[in-house]
Symmetry: C2
Subunit: 335 residues, 2 copies
Amino acid sequence: MKHESIVLTGDRPTGPLHLGHYLGSLKQRVELQDIYKQYVMIADIQALTDYFDRPEMVRKNVLEVCLDYLAVGIDPQKTTIFIQSLIPEIAELTIFFLNLVSVSRLLRNPTVKNEVAQKGFEERLPAGFLIYPVSQAADIVIVKGTIVPVGEDQLPHIEQTNEIINAFNRMYNKEIFGHVTGRVSKVPRLSGIDGKAKMSKSLGNAIYLSDSADAIAEKVMKMYTDPDHIHVNDPGKVEGNVVFNYLDIFDPEVEVVTELKAHYRRGGLGDVKLKRRLIDVLNTLIGPMRERRAEFARDPQAVMNIALEGSEKVREVAARTMDEVRQVMHLNYTK
Amino acid sequence: MKHESIVLTGDRPTGPLHLGHYLGSLKQRVELQDIYKQYVMIADIQALTDYFDRPEMVRKNVLEVCLDYLAVGIDPQKTTIFIQSLIPEIAELTIFFLNLVSVSRLLRNPTVKNEVAQKGFEERLPAGFLIYPVSQAADIVIVKGTIVPVGEDQLPHIEQTNEIINAFNRMYNKEIFGHVTGRVSKVPRLSGIDGKAKMSKSLGNAIYLSDSADAIAEKVMKMYTDPDHIHVNDPGKVEGNVVFNYLDIFDPEVEVVTELKAHYRRGGLGDVKLKRRLIDVLNTLIGPMRERRAEFARDPQAVMNIALEGSEKVREVAARTMDEVRQVMHLNYTK
């Protein structure tokens, strides 16, 4: 059985999206929406796995994330944006899938293992956290997703998803769910403005897609460069210099950047001059997003309606998926 | 906040119900339906936790169990009979509850521990099995159940349910769910016809509420009595004698049974005579059930409709419960 290529992706609404998200996923989604049927899920229930004590924060960020989507050019005519908690079929399918995966298999998932260690759960590992890869499998296949853009660290979840759907298809002797492929795109590593490897809200080192021009200027001016490059005439280091990391990624004038690097290395190029260039480059990228965002933000209900209408569409798809599931599981009492 | 007293109980549709079920739970339900609002759930999804490879068996037994309910006098006008899988809100609430319970707490549940040992899961313990007490908590509180008739061995589940709903109420600062009480009724122990402590389908030692008069006669005639009571005139043992175990429980003529015991002990009372009496006693009990069952069985769709209509009613109740849950969790996007 040939399954249609369908992209499923999404974000946890735990904060506004930043340049790292743009580079790592949002940019690709804008491209993918012209090639595939694409669903983008705002994973509020998964966010509550970590923040069940801060539901109002999650709620607020559902709107923010949706605004970010529209700002970067995700087009609701091409991409179905939906809210996880509005699709109860995901919970139903998760419960069915839980019978097909062992506790020890879940505990062996290397990504879960890492996260458990990072979060220091130890004895207090919530059951909801342990089973979230199963829930993710249901997120993907409820819309018959077959392509999931992921980072390398998410590949174990794709593997687990395929194990579950293979077990399900085999158990009920019908290929209801197609093989899921994790689409790893090679994106350059974007560090935080402090030079730390990862840009993240919790590290306070992020440039947000919703940042004002002033905020961007301020953040770039604080960027980590080369601590030994004290006077303009001192030779400077390009490696580990965040400004060059960003210029390499975002400045379209590659040759100019190459020249700037040489100049910086031999001395005579000041950080401020360099940073001004980066501010321009970032504003050229983020400026139009900021404008689109401001325009959409004028009518927050209209933005929510996009997510609500997308969720309605997904409910129809999910209902059809569950009809198939219920049929093979002999649970179709009302048909 | 005062919560209404509401009974939630149910069975896994894995086979026809037998005398052990009648004595241990069905009899009480017929009484409880005149005192409380009562919901009886046919737990098809929980049955699939053990039998996800035999869905057609589970499906068939949904009808059988429903017939058994009607046969013993559970009255759909007083008791709402419903099918678990038709209430997706249970799955949704289960997913939320999973954030409030730790994996180690689930692994410590003594009943789960025993069952895990019995079933020999070891490394292959399915996640669905580990979390079923959480799913049970959702079953109970989705209809705002506060009273759950249980056996002693189920009390740890009630404790876990209360832990979860306390955590939920505390987390969202509202007493959405009332305390749940496990109602343990002192019922005499009914052994299998082979004398084993427990009557069960898998041991092949059960008398079913749907057994014909012939089947009952045959089973009673095979009943374990006293292997040393070979000739009528031999003195016989009453202790461990299954026929007396049953007469003690079901024969309304207590004094006659006392006399029979004395007679049996001193010798001169044959097993066959005794068994004939028990056959009569059981047919007096089961006969009317068998007739009611046969009557209902003539129109299986009407029986299914009782469960489907009950499920519709429960969906309304469940939707109201989830409205409250979504509100405190800030997930009420459409309200």
